[in-house]
Symmetry: C2
Subunit: 111 residues, 2 copies
């Protein structure tokens, strides 16, 4: 259930924006894994994309954090046609629950 | 390596704040698991605490997202004496790399 991204994102100095996607998976893959890979590839081609971090554990709990230059970039990504289709399958099939939060990064510390 | 929290946080309507802690663990427990449990307990007692979501996968990559009423609440939590001690061990022992981002949540969608 891991996504291909398994390292910390390299982001510029704040301010920038973040979309925090927290979710619990239903049982069975049902196309989820290939969609997750594809959505990550697609996000990287979108305007304002800065980076992504994604973790899911064996219980099915996951957090994906994507970083963007502006709030409008996140809205644009949300409205991408292929992404909208994935969101529909997410609601109907892949996630038992989820939350998406859009936030403005004000401070950052990196080791 | 899972933390005790394994469900989505219930947060109020925005605006509120979020601290996003992304990290990679070094090998071996060396006191990490008990600290993680204790820090989550402690965070819940702090002023302005709204909720927490935490995921770590078998590769050692983890994301912990904690929600707070204000940016000052996060600063106060950062400066808690017991938390400062945990931060020191985090730097010296538990994490090969990490990033902390403080952000203001502007919009939220929940299923």
């Amino acid at each position: 259930m891991m996504t291909p991204t398994n390292h910390l994102a390299q982001t510029p100095a704040p301010p920038y924006y973040v979309a925090i996607f927290s979710s619990k998976r239903t049982d069975g893959d049902r196309g989820y894994s290939s969609m997750a890979v594809r959505m990550e590839e697609l996000a990287k081609t979108m305007p304002g994309y800065l980076g992504i971090e994604s973790v899911r554990d064996d219980s099915g709990m996951g957090i994906t954090v994507s970083y963007w230059q502006t709030a409008e970039d996140i809205l644009h990504w949300k409205q991408n046609a292929e992404h909208l289709k994935a969101q529909e399958s997410g609601k109907s099939t892949w996630y038992s629950e989820y939350a998406i939060r859009v936030a403005k990064v004000e401070r950052a510390y990196v080791k």
